[in-house]
Amino acid sequence: MKILLIEDDKALSEAILTFLLKEDYICEMAANYRVAEEKIRLYQYDCILVDITLPDGNGLDIIRELKKHHVMAGVIIVSARNSLDDKIMGLDIGADDYLAKPFHLSELNARIKSLVRRQQFQGSNEIIFRDIQVLPDRKEVSVGGHRLELTPKEYQLLLYFLANTRRVISKDALAEHLWGDFMDTADSYDFIYSQVKNLRKKLNQYSTNVYLHAVYGIGYKFVKD
């Protein structure tokens, strides 16, 4: 899996790069429009992360360029502008997703995985983690061959955890994933706690593995024991 990160802020791009490399992606960086254009012409990527404001150009132009040359890579806009017009414009010209800065890396990860899944399997795919099987296009979850009835939020949580296994996910990242910016984290902690508890209980109906672990004070980790 090869990712191109187009981002002009060095500190941010380094952090993202570190993260993506740890997640076993092959990742390259471009700090400006010129380099990005060159790399796109020379190499093939599965996913491209684009910042809209670049020192020597507009990220949206890169997307137009990609679409003109029928590059198949998925495109996620990563912007500090967080403006609806940019979002609509970006999605209009062919971007697949839009993520506003500042974001959680786990959120970025979930978006990348979801995008790549859609791209590579045209939707007809499945996520398998040990004895858990998820069919995203049908929103079906089964453990050890038994169907689970999950609420929409539990389902969203599970998918998020599956995209970020073996990593500590903060409660804030979970809250933001579930409600966007509208719920203050402190108010939703209790709810997240009970949702995670329910999810764990439902998974353990048919599985002896304990997947969900609370990490002191900060959040949860989804691993096999």
Partner: protein, 417 residues
């Protein structure tokens, strides 16, 4: 009190003083003039009488009427004297009438005669009365004139002033309602206008700067925040010790708060800068129900009973979808956040209004403060208190009226379209 009325009041006061003193002076002057006149008449009369005696060669008609009396006397010759006196009127009434009297002594053919001449001063009274009445009439005319001039002035000359005042009242830099002063040919008004224009120009420039500053600052903060956040996340996965997690958790939460405040401020300034101009037909009911669904489980977790009555709504409005979502989400999250465990939320929507009532703790601050930025009821709460400011700003954008009521642990927010 109007300026003109005030001026006129002093003017009227001054006028009455002048009229009063003038009247008194007039009275005495007139009286003196009439006395002088009467004295002259008496002297003329005396000379005339003496002339007649001379012509008639010493024949004296002894006369003893009220006006003229000639009697022989034994006394010495004395100088002529004038005197004011009161005499009883002839007839039944016996009223006392003021007279001017001239007493002369003359030697005619060896005999001394006393000549007494009198002239009535009754005219004096009439005259003074006439003057008094005229003065009153003039005074009344001046007051009436003042009143009429006043009206005319306020209609004509003060017109530009009142128009500018009206403009100033409607002036609102946040709503882009600016001043356009009306010129007059009055120096004071024009000076005021130019001062006003200068001031409002400064306000507009400052406001514009502030808006731009807020937006730029918020925007510039986003990237460093993203750097902190991502690195913090990386760090989280490096750590092993529980105490380190606790520290990271605290930093993370603070970063989260700053992020949220910053995003909301950015939103507010974007709304103010009218960057949410794109309009689409929006069905508020659908948006509201979608938003409610998103919060359903959260409401459920807090054991809230949610009642909706939105089925009288059947229109689509041209609005910005993002703003509408923001409005719905903020209103609902607010109703859930500031609720009591086991309370309820009542949502009502029709074509005229959206009303969200919910149970909640007693307000500490006055209700009108609720919509101010950074005003929060619960100080320990992590919520920055920008949600309702955002709701207010969105309502302002669409010229909707937002009202808030509180009674007996029941909070009601109503928006009238």
């Amino acid at each position: 009190m109007k300026l003109l009325t005030k001026i006129n009041r002093y003017f009227a006061l001054y006028a009455s003083l002048v009229f009063l003193l003038g009247g008194i002076a007039f009275y005495f002057i007139l009286k003196e003039i009439i006395r002088e006149e009467t004295s002259e008449v008496l002297i003329f009369e005396r000379d005339h009488t003496l002339q007649q005696i001379k012509i008639s060669q010493g024949t004296i008609h002894y006369d003893s009427s009220m006006e003229k009396m000639i009697v022989p006397t034994d006394g010495p010759l004395r100088a002529d004297t004038f005197k004011d006196t009161l005499m009883a009127e002839l007839g039944d009434t016996k009223e006392l009438i003021p007279y001017r009297q001239l007493t002369s002594y003359r030697n005619i053919k060896g005999q001394t005669y006393q000549l007494v001449l009198r002239e009535s001063l009754l005219e004096q009274k009439d005259m003074i009365f006439a003057v008094f009445v005229s003065l009153l009439i003039i005074f009344g005319a001046i007051l009436l004139g003042l009143l009429l001039v006043n009206r005319w002035l306020s209609r004509r000359i003060w017109q530009p002033f009142y128009q500018n005042l009206q403009q100033l009242r409607q002036y609102d830099v946040t709503q882009n309602r600016f001043m356009k002063t009306i010129d007059s040919d009055i120096t004071e008004f024009d000076e005021l206008n130019s001062a006003l224009l200068k001031m409002t120009g400064k306000i507009e420039a400052d406001y514009q700067n502030l808006k731009e500053f807020t937006e730029n600052a918020s925007h510039e903060i986003q990237t460093p925040l993203a750097v902190i956040r991502t690195n913090l996340e990386l760090l989280t996965n490096e750590l092993q010790k529980a105490s380190s997690f606790e520290i990271i958790s605290k930093i993370d939460r603070a970063v989260q708060q700053v992020t949220r405040i910053n995003q909301t401020l950015l939103l507010l300034s974007k709304i103010e800068n009218q960057q949410f101009n794109t309009q689409h037909p929006v069905n508020l009911k659908e948006r509201l129900l979608t938003s409610l669904e998103n919060f359903q489980e959260l409401a459920h977790a807090r054991q809230l009973t949610v009642k909706t009555d939105v089925y009288h709504y059947d229109q689509t409005l041209s609005m910005n979808p993002t703003l509408v979502d923001m409005l719905c989400n903020n209103l609902l999250s607010n109703a859930i956040k500031h609720n009591l465990a086991g309370g309820w939320i009542d949502i009502f929507l029709d074509n005229q209004q959206l009303k969200i009532s919910n149970t909640g703790p007693v307000l500490i601050h006055p209700p009108e403060k609720l919509f101010e930025r950074f005003k929060k009821e619960n100080v320990s709460n992590e919520s920055p208190g920008l949600g309702l400011a955002l709701v207010q700003k969105i309502c302002d954008t669409y010229r909707w009226q937002l009202t808030y009521q509180y009674e007996a642990e029941k909070h009601t927010l109503s928006i009238y379209f």
